[in-house]
Amino acid sequence: MSLDAKGGAALALHRFGLGPRAGSIRMIGSDPRGALLEEIEKPGAGQIVNAELLTSAAGARLNFAYNQQQQAKRIAARISAEQQKTTMAVMTPEDAKPEDTAMVTVPGAAEPQPATPPQRNVNREVEARIAAAMNAEIGFVERLVWFWSNHFCVSADVVLNMVGGYEREAIRPHVLGRFGDMLLAAESHPAMLIYLDNFRSIGPMSVAGLINKIGLNENLGREILELHTLGVRSVYTQEDVYRFAKAITGWTIRPMATDAEHGNEFVFMDRRHEPGPQTILGKTYPEGGVEQGQAVLADLARHPATAAHVAFKLARHFSADEPSPSLVERLSKRFLDTDGDLKEMAKALVEAPETWDEQRLKLKRPSEWLIACWRAIGVAPEARRIFDTHGYLGERFWRPSAPKGFSDEQSAWIDGLSQRLDIANRIGELVQARVEPAELLDNSLGPLASEDTRNAVARAESRQQAITLTLMAPEFQRR
């Protein structure tokens, strides 16, 4: 049995996109492949234009200023309380350290009410991202943004007011550009430098290293090699990690406390940079400033191991947990042939026969399933509920628990299926007055719906139950 054009359209919307909206299947029905290619050629594809959104550095400054204000208020309140109690002593405000709330995951932590200015900034960012996903016709480019953002992930647990800006500044501009450009943009971005500690890594033999007691931190260097480029167990050694970490010493941020205007923007500090040449993967990079690390990144971006690593991840994301070797090979070759042109990679995905397999084995990740639900009913919730629902399903929004990003494998997510049922049930309850289950089924699954699913929906005891069953149907869970 092979799918007709309409079936191909529904498949494309679920597999490459973010799920059908009302009318999408019909709209791209005549030529789903062409529609996908058209979406990546659209001017401005993948970009968010929204004057309300702050740059990541401005977001961080907003957060910093707010925290300082609050701290000052607390100190002032304490002083006045003390003064009321006693006139004996003169108070010296303690040199309070900003609370280190960012470093460790605390699932279930409630957001303060009402929203503070930094929280409102985060809310605007998450709503802008969801709006882009709701408004996309297919959502293929948004899926690529999500993919790369997860590949080069940072976490809002550490850089709360920078994550949205990071994605717009480092990921989106290059999502259909060059891998090497995205790599450089991501690794030199303040959000990444903070997230993986490089902003305080100092060359032991640098001026700052010799004078101060602080020194090297190899966290970012390791994760670039292991997660972002070559891949774990590939071609590098512990020595390569160590030397690469030295090559990117001095990649840091302008201090917030002393630079109100440009605090938290990238800066290269030569006095922190380890002097001397560095030999990495057998190649010697001569002594230099910021160019030394840039040259290493440029070579990493072209390395065959990077091509293989990126190809495998893309193939696994768009086809199956165990992608076919031919697809991986095809993507890897395209990567090397085009010097890491990500638009060409996107085209290769669409053109490959393997990605059109009718068997839909891939379980959607919670974020993919949620957006598909919201597109199917035509409305997404406000920021607070976006956070709640993602957190409930174990994929806390922009908060992966480790630099590896969220898992792309079914085994990580399948036991959370019952939590999806709770959410589907709630959506059914909320929209039952306006959503006709039969239409929802046709609009969101159409030709993909099995006879069993159609029967189950038709025989449901209520509209709520029919909607719930549609959103929970295997055809809706998998892509």
Binding site: E218, R233, A456, L469, R478
Partner: protein
């Protein structure tokens, strides 16, 4: 080793795919001895600094290595002596109490077979039980269940239990896992659940299996003391970061303990705590690591309390993917290392001991000149527990649970 659990092996593990859903748990041999053992595994993700958790205060090189960051018995925050050589991080008074009661054991200078320094590969090796990293989709704890003799009284699908919507690899596998998440949402009706499971049975068996575990869990939760597994709705979150971490750890572990304590509940559980990757300002005495260890200590106390009488038959195993550098790095933290500690607690232990073949801390003794060397294979510890506590057979341990570990003998005398 790449596809360790291939189709035929998987069938063997299950005793034939056809009886998957009719195969009840409970270690028959242990039951025959009049025991009903419980086991909870806690994974610390991010690599615990074992030297900061249990400090070798009796090693003359210890202070040389860490300077003013080395715990000492007479330091500013004095470490809690365990014996003449080792002392516990002062953030862990409950563990000390258990240790003194013979209900806690420390294994030091231990590691899995993994010798590189990737968290994610390290966690995969730790949780999969395979000797090397690579694709793994099942965990040793789940496969250990497959190696146990069946016993007819407890439902097959109440064997294993995980906290949170994302299942730790250590309990993934052919044996069904139930997962629990604090919920603030009105759950779907039993009728909707039943219809969906029916639909899945006709269309997608994997999804059917996943959902059935939840259905049985909600029946289990309803059948007993309603307050035990009640959702946390409306509860005020504590203020401040350390208090939140404490509350979360204690909540997760305490809830697991409540389920495990029930006569008709699961016998095996697993959960994971993140945040141990202390590259910067480790804070072993009063900062971040002290907070985390204190929260872990509170979690163990919550397990002890919530298990009640069952604590006498319980073992909690706390393990991490690898240790950290023996020396402090350039940013007052530690980078990825090798040897670390495993912490065991529970009334079933022959505790009150630190088990270590101490490798020493001179540079020449350190692994690659930088990490605490691993002299005890963590698999020996886990095998010892599975064998003597749950009565998993040697054959199953070597063939299925920790494949490729025939030369790693199960540690004796732990239980």
């Amino acid at each position: 080793m790449k596809n360790f659990v291939h189709a035929s092996t998987r069938r063997e593990l299950l005793g034939g795919a056809g009886v998957l859903f009719a195969w009840p748990f409970l270690p028959k041999l242990a039951r025959a001895e009049g025991r009903d053992p419980r086991m909870l595994t806690i994974i610390l993700r991010g690599a615990l600094d074992g030297l900061a958790a249990v400090a070798p205060v009796g090693d003359p090189d210890w202070v040389k290595l860490r300077g003013d960051k080395a715990f000492a018995l007479d330091g500013k925050t004095p470490a809690l002596p365990l014996n003449d050589f080792f002392a516990l991080n002062p953030a862990m008074p409950n563990f000390l109490r258990m240790y003194k009661a013979g209900h806690a054991t420390v294994v030091h200078a231990t590691a899995t077979s993994y010798r590189e320094r990737s968290h994610f590969d390290g966690q995969d090796v730790l949780e999969s039980g395979l000797p090397n990293p690579g694709r793994a989709d099942t965990g040793w704890l789940n496969r250990a269940l497959g190696g146990l003799e069946p016993e007819a009284r407890v439902r097959h699908d109440r064997r294993a239990f995980a906290v949170g919507p994302v299942t730790p690899l250590v309990v993934r596998g052919p044996t069904q896992v139930m997962s629990w998440t604090p919920t603030r949402i009105q759950p779907a009706s039993e009728d909707t659940m039943a219809r969906l499971i029916d639909l899945y049975h006709h269309t997608d068996v994997e999804l059917a299996r996943a959902l059935e575990g939840r259905r049985d869990l909600s029946i289990l939760a309803r059948s007993g003391d309603a307050t035990v597994m009640a959702p946390t709705e409306g509860r005020q979150l504590p203020q401040g970061f350390p208090a939140q971490v404490r509350a979360f750890f204690a909540d997760a572990a305490g809830t697991a303990a409540k389920f495990l304590a029930r006569a008709d509940g699961p016998r095996i559980g697993a959960l994971a705590f993140n945040g141990w990757d202390t590259h910067v300002d480790e804070g072993a005495d009063s900062g971040r690591l002290a907070t985390l260890l204190g929260a872990l200590d509170g979690a163990l106390a919550a397990v002890e309390k919530n298990m009640g009488d069952v604590w006498a038959e319980a073992i909690v195993t706390v393990v991490t993917e690898f240790g950290r550098t023996a020396r402090i790095n350039g940013t007052n933290g530690t980078d990825h290392g090798t040897g670390t500690v495993a912490l065991l607690a529970g009334g079933a232990l022959k505790g009150g001991r630190v088990i270590a073949d101490w490798p020493g801390l001179k540079t020449a003794n350190l692994y690659e000149g930088r990490d605490l060397a691993a002299t005890t294979d963590l698999r020996a510890v886990l095998k010892g527990l599975l064998k003597d506590h749950l009565r998993v057979t040697d054959q199953a341990l070597a063939a299925n649970v920790f494949p490729g570990s025939a030369d790693v003998k199960a540690m004796t005398g732990l239980v």
